[in-house]
């Protein structure tokens, strides 16, 4: 009930019916396009060190042959050039430079890595842990359920940003790990609550009785017959989780507590550019645009309730 997700909260419940072919037809192509764009972002993140480095040439190795092309961004994300501070977008720097003369496009590409790594990493961890906690609680009623229920409730009570901030403060150093753990904790509670409720609900279904009557143990029945049913709503929930994680990471970056500088992240770029945004819009506009685009793609996935 304490769901914060549009994916699972509210009277409109995502179910297998929503993914039926009849409902899938309109706008299906745009959904595919959205998924392709998200995949493209992931590829950009993976390729960032090669796309944007000091090396003016990009060596595409195809088997044993080499194809050398001009690098799309011949700047690395941390190359400081004070004489080029705050230069506007031009053919030399496609998205301009920041206060320290670093190429905004190169930092944007490298920033994708931090944002997506935290988004996907935290969500994956939360999903696995949530399945384990929620599933165990539902399949072992009594004291185990009661105890795990408390654990889930405790995890869910901490506002994710405050928990992440505390972890950063406690660890005494920035880095991906405290941010990842802080964000994952809140998502774990949401996933576990959903898995527990759904498992309890579906245990009343005839297929559950049939499976148990034919000799399947509770775990086996859950694995074979329950998990496939939970797959779609969990994936929808995951895309909401990724969006939230990306947003939180950027908020931490904005507060100056994100990934360790000079490693870039989108939020950090926005936080750095805040003071000069009035004279150099490009320092803030591009990372903000990248963030908004990613979030739109993810939230559209949530709204469509299919993957």
């Amino acid at each position: 009930m304490h769901e914060t997700d549009p994916a699972t909260a509210g009277p409109v419940v995502a179910g297998p019916a929503a993914a039926g072919p009849a409902e899938r037809a309109p706008g299906f192509r745009s959904r595919r396009a959205g998924l392709a764009l998200l995949g493209g972002l992931g590829l950009l993140a993976l390729a960032a060190p090669r796309l944007a480095s000091e090396d003016p040439l990009l060596d595409l190795r195809l088997g044993s042959s080499h194809l050398v092309v001009p690098a799309p961004v011949p700047w690395s994300e941390r190359r400081v050039r004070l004489d080029e501070s705050l230069s506007p977008p031009s053919s030399r720097h496609l998205c301009g430079t920041d206060v320290l003369g670093r190429d905004v496009l190169a930092r944007l590409l490298h920033g994708t890595r931090a944002s997506l790594a935290i988004g996907f990493g935290a969500t994956l961890a939360a999903l696995l842990l949530g399945l384990l906690l929620g599933g165990t609680a539902a399949l072992r009623p009594g004291p185990v359920d009661l105890a795990l229920g408390r654990v889930i409730e405790i995890l869910g009570c901490f506002p994710p940003l405050l928990l992440a901030l505390s972890l950063v403060a406690a660890a005494g150093q920035r880095g991906l790990l405290p941010i990842l753990v802080g964000i994952a904790a809140g998502r774990t509670a949401a996933a576990a609550r959903f898995v527990r409720a759904e498992t309890l609900r579906l245990q009343a279904a005839p297929f559950w009785l049939a499976a148990r009557a034919s000799g399947a143990g509770p775990w086996q029945a859950a694995w074979r017959h329950l998990l496939p049913l939970l797959e779609t709503p969990l994936l929808v929930q995951a895309s909401f989780g990724i969006a939230q994680a990306v947003l939180l990471e950027s908020a931490l970056g904005f507060l100056g507590l994100g990934v360790e500088p000079p490693n870039p992240s989108w939020g950090q770029m926005i936080g750095d550019g805040r003071g000069v945004a009035a004279v150099a819009w490009w320092t803030v506009a591009y990372p903000a645009g990248a963030l908004a685009l990613t979030l739109t793609l993810l939230l559209r996935k949530v709204d469509s309730r299919v993957w």
Partner: protein, 327 residues
């Protein structure tokens, strides 16, 4: 029903204890060292002074002993002293809490004030131009992170148009004096905080209305000629119930959001305090803030769980089990 209420209240105790344990462990067991942070801050200590400080902060004792001592003190309202200026943490919190409460209540009002009419509009005429326009606008509002929204709002309303103050609380900064003078300062931060919640709340309200509106009882009342206020009198509760649940989703995100918004607008509340505590490695203050925020979420959820059966007659009879399955 009483069984369910008693169970919820009784279970809140262990949960609160667990919350305090997590808050304590997160900020005391992990490798950061508050003493080292103090020395970094430019106050060199002799070995003797350091040892004295360590025993003063009980850093030389086992973790569980420290937890027990902290818990005992916290139960009596003593949350320790700020490492930054040595003031009692409880006093600092008491000073900042009204500001955060004011900001969050204003934002909550703005969220419900927009989400309810828009949700109703979208549920009644989902294909109308207005419904589509508002939907698009809300998607836009929910993908703009609040710190960017803060920049845009400040740029437009404070710098360009000069309608509203840029940040801070103006002359009223010395206390909550002069509500009229404070109001202009409240508008932008509250708007910024509400912005992130609008999309979620409206989507939720639309779903709730879409489910409640086609109800046979409602159609029957309409067919008998019941309109406007009369309809609201009989069915207002039915429509309002899901919005009580909605509160449970909004409170944690509001608390997270006010960290950003208070920092961006220099609002002297708990959120900005948290940022300063983290940046200044002020462990007792951060611990108290983490505990307080989690306890606030727990209290909100408890309130909802108690309010819901009180408002919904359908849950009073056999409904306890149904409510159980949802918790």
């Amino acid at each position: 029903m009483t069984g369910f209420v008693a169970r919820r209240v009784l279970l809140a105790g262990p949960t609160l204890l667990g919350i305090s344990l997590v808050a304590f462990l997160v900020l005391s067991v992990l490798p950061g060292d508050p003493i080292a942070a103090r020395i970094d801050a430019g106050a060199p200590l002799s070995a003797d002074a350091e040892a004295r400080l360590r025993s003063e902060l009980r850093l030389d004792r086992p973790v569980l002993v420290r937890y027990a001592a902290w818990l005992q003190a916290a139960a009596q309202g003593d949350l320790g002293h700020s490492l930054h200026d040595g003031r009692p943490v409880a006093g600092i919190l008491r000073e900042a809490a009204p500001w955060t409460l004011l900001l969050n209540l204003a934002a909550l009002g703005a969220i419900y004030g927009v989400a309810l009419p828009l949700g109703l509009l979208q549920a009644r005429r989902p294909r109308s131009t207005w419904a589509r326009l508002s939907e698009g606008g809300l998607i836009l509002a929910s993908v703009i992170p609040s710190f960017i929204a803060a920049l845009l709002l400040q740029g437009l309303f404070a710098l360009r148009l000069e309608w509203l103050p840029l940040a801070g609380t103006g002359e009223a900064g010395q206390g909550l004096a002069g509500p009229a003078g404070l109001l202009p300062h409240l508008v932008l931060p509250a708007l910024c905080l509400a912005l992130a919640g609008w999309g979620f709340a409206t989507r939720y309200a639309r779903g709730a209305f879409a489910e409640a509106l086609p109800a046979a009882s409602l159609a029957a009342a309409r067919a008998r000629g019941l309109r406007g206020p009369g309809l609201l009198k009989h069915f207002g509760l039915l429509l309002a119930l899901p919005l009580v649940w909605l509160l449970g989703g909004i409170v944690p995100s509001l608390l997270s959001g006010s960290v950003i918004v208070e920092e961006a607008f220099d609002w002297p509340g708990l959120g900005r305090l948290m940022v300063h505590a983290v940046l200044g490695r002020d462990t007792p203050l951060a611990m108290a803030l983490l505990l307080l925020s989690a306890a606030a979420v727990l209290a909100a959820q408890l309130l909802i769980d108690l309010l819901y059966p009180a408002l919904d007659p359908r849950l009073r009879g056999t409904g306890a089990e149904a409510a159980h399955a949802r918790d």
